[in-house]
Symmetry: C2
């Protein structure tokens, strides 16, 4: 008999029918003897509807953060009670709790609060009494009794935090995919589901556009060593277990997966006078404009000038270009050029720590396909390159094969 925290997202509880299906799934675990805490998001679309109302009232200004939390927290409050009803209808004792009722204590940073402490008393009492406990994700309460929310997607974090507080055996995150793949199966048909992946790898995959899990939730799970499992909401299967890297065995693959994204755009400021502090002069105004920068490359100078390149989210491209052109005039740079037709491809794996030559193998296989590399950036368990967008699929397929990630061709195929 295990204690399991299960988290279902917005599409999994998007209709009454789907909530019934979730209830069936929860009942199956309960019947098998597990103790269950279920964390839910709002019905898909509901949070946006509520935010729209708040925006309409707020006119040109931002919605007042404290009051926005009062509104959006109602979304989960509806789904938890609906699931509790569906469970009780099935003869499964159940009770719903808002973040405030559990007492998920957070700081007072409305709309992006952080969990400080979870009171497990009430939940433990209910589990002992045989009840399934259904908890509203994404929300908590500060020390003054104000309702807070953890920000979009924060329900994953609620699940992990509850699992940590209750020392649960596993935190299961139900999604619309049946696990974490070596890469996107829509791009590489022979992509494979991973049985296991480390927290670090998952973090790199997540931050690189594999939107299976919230980054914060993975960080949290890693910090408190909560075994995290990604599963499909309505299909059977073992999913992917995300856990600490216990066994660095020989069999461990060097690379766990290929991540990529097309969300970025590239900006280069050319002919920058090569003086100290120039990087700050360029990125300071970008940061002041609330634009996040991802990759940054500056190469050695020649003729006392240098070129400085960085990537931003495509949505921020216009704004960043405007800022950068002002900067160029101020510091006397030659020109600003931009490119939105780029893609980032990354190989991720804890195995590469102990293997030299992983990067060169990557560059070699891209060269074989005549794909030009525009930018390179590396971390301990990741190598990322920026290439022309049109080569993205080709690059991902080539790397997937080069690092021996392709699924074996099944008989008869």
């Amino acid at each position: 008999m295990a204690l399991i925290v299960q988290k279902f997202g917005g599409t999994s509880v998007g209709t009454v029918e789907r909530i019934e299906q979730v209830a069936d799934k929860v009942k199956k675990f309960r019947d098998a003897g597990d103790d269950l805490v279920v964390v839910l998001s709002a019905m898909s679309g509901e949070t946006n509807r509520l935010i729209d109302l708040a925006k309409q009232i707020s006119g040109d200004g931002q919605p007042v953060p404290r009051e926005l939390d009062v509104i959006v927290s109602t979304g989960e409050q509806v789904t938890i009670a609906l699931l509790a009803m569906a469970l009780i209808k099935r003869g499964v004792p159940a009770v719903s709790y808002t973040g405030n009722q559990v007492r998920i204590l957070t700081d007072s940073a409305h709309n992006k609060a952080r969990i400080l402490q979870i009171d497990d008393q009430k939940i433990r009492g209910d589990l002992k009494a045989g009840r399934v406990v259904v908890v509203a994700g994404f929300q908590g309460v500060d020390e003054h009794g104000n309702i807070t929310t953890l920000g979009r997607g924060g329900s994953d974090t609620t699940g992990v935090a509850l699992a940590a507080a209750l020392k649960a055996d596993e935190c299961q995150i139900y999604t619309d995919v049946d696990g974490v793949y070596t890469t996107d199966p829509r791009v590489v048909s022979v992509a494979q589901r991973l049985d296991k992946i480390t927290f670090e790898e998952m973090l790199e995959m997540a931050s690189l556009g594999s939107k299976v899990l919230q980054i914060r939730a993975v960080e949290f799970a890693g910090k408190y060593n909560v075994p995290l499992r990604v599963l499909h909401s309505f299909k059977e299967g073992p999913g992917t277990l995300i856990t600490i890297d216990e066994e660095e065995t020989m069999e461990q693959p060097i690379i766990s997966g290929i991540a990529f994204n097309r969300d970025e755009a590239k900006l280069t400021i050319r002919g920058v006078p090569d003086t100290p502090g120039v990087a700050f002069k360029i990125l300071g105004p970008i940061s002041a404009a609330n634009i996040e920068v991802d990759m940054i490359v500056q190469n050695v100078a020649h003729d006392n000038t240098t070129d400085f390149t960085f990537t931003v989210h495509r949505n921020d491209f216009q704004a960043a270009q405007t800022v950068l052109e002002n900067t160029a005039r101020e510091i006397g740079a030659r020109e600003v050029i931009g490119d939105t037709k780029i893609a980032k491809v990354s190989i991720v794996g804890v195995g590469m720590r102990s293997h030299a030559g992983v990067a060169s193998r990557m560059f070699e296989s891209l060269a074989k396909e005549s794909i030009n590399i525009q930018m390179i950036s590396t971390s301990e368990i990741k190598v990322s390159v920026v290439i022309e967008e049109k080569y993205l699929e080709l690059a991902v397929r080539a790397l997937h094969t080069a690092f021996e990630l392709d699924a074996p061709v099944r008989q008869g195929e």
Copy 2:
């Protein structure tokens, strides 16, 4: 500078535009120097939408009462935050509180809870700090931290209870009418708005189909002597003040208003053997079937049998008829006859306590119009008659004139 509790119902906050109008109105009072606590209902239609969701999940069974309260309480939670935002946008400091956050302590009777106690600490602190406090109507929390609701229309009760707890100078209930009238202006064009009415009269008017206020709220206001004012949400005007009967002066009209309703149906069981306990034998099964009975008339017996007549809500007519026919067989009564084409007309006024002849004046004016009276029932401040439905408007107009309630004809009209 007065402390005023203002309550706005579902249609007054039914859209973002209407919430903006409410904010304008609240700001006007605030600018005039009043301290304000505003109680809101859910946006019109929202509570029904939430109940529908709960019913869909619950299938044939009733929604689990505790969980239903978790769901439906979200409706007010949305409107309070929206109004707080709209006020802050106007430069009026404001804060929203759910029933739980105020701590409106209720018993644990989910879906129909009663308020036990209100903690005024938080609200007083906010008022002192110059904030308008916006409170979710219709909801509270029990001693175990479970969310409760007061039942449909309970927002009026929240307003009155808050006014009582805060010893407010006035509780203003904003509605879609500009006050309490001598009778329905759609029936009698010369009906007049009353400046003042007593709690007792208001109770009789409300229970007789003048659906301006929740009966429970009026009872509550009377009990704690909270001056209650009915006003129009979006039109200017003094409204009607409902208060205790302080001055029984000569000028006081004998009759304050004419109430009526068409919601009832009449059932007669004829030829009942005239033995002790027969009334219970007839009404016991009706009550056991959860059918509420309004007027009851039994006249003197002749030939050892009697006729027994009572009225029920029209929706319950079929069910009551079936029950009554069973009873008739059991006790050997002659027949059951029913009539749904009836209407009840009542004259209401504290003045009639000290005036003989009010009833006879009523009967006389009906006789003049050749309207036959089928049943009569009286209380200290009310006389009700049941008549054929088609004479309803004629009867109301005749009585309105007979008791000198008609508005003076304005010049030029």
